[in-house]
């Protein structure tokens, strides 16, 4: 006998959280690309995460979704470096320390080729920021995929960000809260993997919600 995904009840429920973020601004501004390389090397990992992942909702109106890439372009006028920083494939990276190392290497390699760019003052300083996160349990727990999809429909933007994007900080960048629950509590690793393949890096949060529901909803009807 087979049980449809819709009807399958999880071993543990999924608890939605209402999340909210406060952005803390670092005290030391970065004025040059040389300083950026140094700050990337020693800055808090939360800042690396914030500038790579946190600003995604604003992506419609910037050329790149990485803040480092955007700054290299608009404040330093270094388009080639900006492109290198922007195209880092985050799916291939499984830790923030790895991400830090890659970003530092990109900037240092670029500055070796363009040493004159290292000390040139940017039009506008870059401030390393990090997000302070506050969460509270929200809504009814989900026991089935249908209940998960219904909950996702009613999540605010910051809470969607918390479960699908910021969760990567907690889960060492490998997955997201929804995929983790689907894999471990519903025992459907293929569906979890499919959800985790969504290219959220080029989505707005509303697009992301639709992409998630587009994957979950056919399962509801099976």
């Amino acid at each position: 006998m087979t049980v449809s995904l819709e009807a399958k009840r999880a071993e543990q429920p999924f608890q939605f959280m209402a999340a909210s973020y406060l952005i803390r601004i670092g005290a030391q501004p970065v004025q040059t690309l040389g300083e950026l390389a140094n700050s990337l090397q020693i800055g808090p990992r939360e800042s690396i995460f914030y500038h790579t992942f946190q600003s995604l909702e604003a992506h419609h109106y910037t050329s790149f979704s990485s803040d480092f890439a955007q700054w290299a372009l608009t404040a330093c006028n270094e388009a080639a470096l900006a492109e290198k920083l922007a195209i880092v494939d985050l799916r291939e990276i499984v830790s923030l320390e790895d991400l830090r190392g890659i970003l530092v290497q990109i900037v240092r390699d670029y500055l070796k080729e363009h040493p004159q760019a290292a000390e040139r003052r940017a039009f506008e300083a870059f401030y390393f920021c990090e997000a302070r996160e506050v969460t509270v349990p929200s809504g009814s727990p989900a026991w089935t995929l249908a209940e998960l999809a219904e909950g996702i429909r009613h999540l605010g933007h910051q809470s969607l960000h918390y479960h699908f994007i910021n969760s990567r900080l907690r889960l060492q960048l490998k997955t997201n809260d929804f995929s983790y629950w689907i894999e471990h509590s519903l025992n459907h690793p293929w569906l979890a993997a499919r959800l985790n393949r969504i290219d959220f890096y080029n989505d707005t949060l509303d697009d992301l919600r639709q992409d998630i529901l587009a994957i979950l909803e056919p399962q509801e009807g099976r």
Binding site: A18, S20, Y21, L22, I23, R24, I25, A27, Q28, P29, E57, A58, H60, Y61, T62, E124, A125, Y127, C129, R132, V134, V136, P137, S138, G139, H154, L155, G156, H157, Q158, S159
Partner: protein, 411 residues
């Protein structure tokens, strides 16, 4: 003076915003606030009417009350000399020269002390807005309340004499709030990013009937059939109204346009009348320049003027945030604005508006937009969405609730 003494019109309730920001955002605001139940807050600033801070507090405080975080708004009092001094501080913190008399710092502290003596600080969270009431923190005692300084000013290039006087007071706070990372001063206390916001349901921003907009234009003798360029701001030299007239004259060589300069004054700004005279003199009796010195309750008229405009200008020389930009973007207007203060957070060049650096540049971009109306329309549409994501009142409420929770957890 407290909120109970400020006239209270019928205000929207939190649920009314669901139609704009979505039901989930409203539900989550209530859930966050539930964790603060029983906590009290106080907001202190220096004027009950006029200016962006008073406008924000007018709308924010009732919503804080509604989510069961009772919030008392108090306004400090001070004589003409005090506000003359604080205006000089304001300008100096924006980078202008400071030529204060020897007793000004003492007068500033004495007025703060007078206010401190008549005020009580029993709340869990005290938020002090801008430098005028900064020294009220002298009241801080051993109670476990949390004091926050909300700086609405661009501190990126302050006059050192004034900043050196104020900084020791700032250092006594638990946290500081700035409208842009570029405004910060590398403080030892935590610095948080807090965008100012507009209320989409306020008279100044809500939808208006086209017939009402037209009626307001006619009331002020503005011709709706010709291009209307508008700057809404206090009559303040830092808003560069004379520079706007210069830009208008450059555009006028090519386009038969009109200019509206509409604003008022605030009780904490003694320079307004002098600046208004300078503007009238610069206009030189041009019948197509409409200088409107409006009373503080003219929200519907300002709304109508913005909605009736072809292009909205904000050519500030210095700016805290420039909420009038978000107001215009919310109304889907193409905006030409200076790349100063918090304006670049709102106007992303060629995507949500046009950034400029001079009267000549302002004129150039106005001419470009007048010649390319479909591009101008797209800027307005993008701008509306950008404001919806970042600069609406409900986000301000969320940031304060989050701040208070972070303070309780300890930073």
């Amino acid at each position: 003076m407290s909120t109970t003494e400020v006239a209270k019109p019928v205000l929207p309730v939190l649920q009314d915003y669901a139609a704009i920001v979505g039901e989930p955002e409203i539900t989550e605001l209530r859930e966050l606030a539930r964790r603060l139940a029983g906590r009290h807050a106080k907001m202190v600033n220096s004027t009950a009417v006029g200016g962006g801070v008073a406008e924000i507090l007018n709308r924010l405080v009732p919503l804080m009350e509604e989510v069961n975080v009772p919030t008392r708004w108090e306004v400090i009092t001070g004589g003409e000399k005090f506000f003359h001094i604080t205006k000089a501080f304001h300008n100096a913190l924006h980078g202008a020269p400071y030529e204060g008399a020897a007793d000004w710092f003492d007068t500033f502290l004495a007025t703060n002390e007078e206010n401190r003596r008549r005020m009580q600080f029993d709340e869990d969270f005290v938020v002090i807005h801008d430098p005028q009431p900064l020294a009220l923190i002298a009241q801080r005692d051993s109670r476990p309340s949390h004091w926050v300084w909300r700086c609405h000013i661009d501190l990126s290039n302050p006059n050192e004499q004034v900043w050196d006087f104020l900084k020791p007071w700032v250092d006594r706070y638990d946290a500081s709030l700035f409208s842009s990372p570029q405004f910060t001063r590398g403080l030892r206390i935590p610095q948080y990013l807090f965008f100012p916001t507009i209320d989409p349901l306020a008279d100044k921003n809500r939808e208006l009937e086209a017939v009402f907009v037209r009626g307001v234009l006619e009331q002020f003798h503005v011709d709706p059939a010709r291009p209307i360029l508008t700057q809404i701001s206090r009559f303040d030299r830092l808003k560069d109204p004379v520079g706007v007239i210069r830009a208008y004259r450059l555009v006028k060589r090519y386009e038969d346009c009109q200019l509206v300069l509409a604003g008022g004054s605030a009780t904490d700004d003694p320079e307004g009348a002098a600046v208004l005279r300078e503007v009238e003199e610069a206009a030189g009796g041009d019948p197509d320049i409409h200088i409107l010195n409006l009373p503080p309750w003219s929200h519907l008229e300002i709304n109508a003027l913005q909605r009736g405009s072809t292009i909205v200008i904000q050519k500030s020389l210095r700016e805290g945030f420039g909420l009038t930009v978000s107001e215009a973007l919310w109304k889907k207007k193409p905006v030409v604005a200076s790349a100063v203060g918090g304006i670049p957070s709102q106007v992303i060049h060629k995507l949500t508006g046009m950034l400029v650096h001079s009267p000549e540049g302002t004129a150039y971009q106005i001419r470009f937009l007048l010649a390319n109306p479909s591009f101008a329309k797209a800027l307005g549409e993008n701008g509306h969405q950008h404001v919806k994501e970042h600069f609406l009142l409900t986000q301000n409420l969320r940031r304060y609730l989050t701040l208070f929770l972070v303070l309780l957890e300890g930073d």
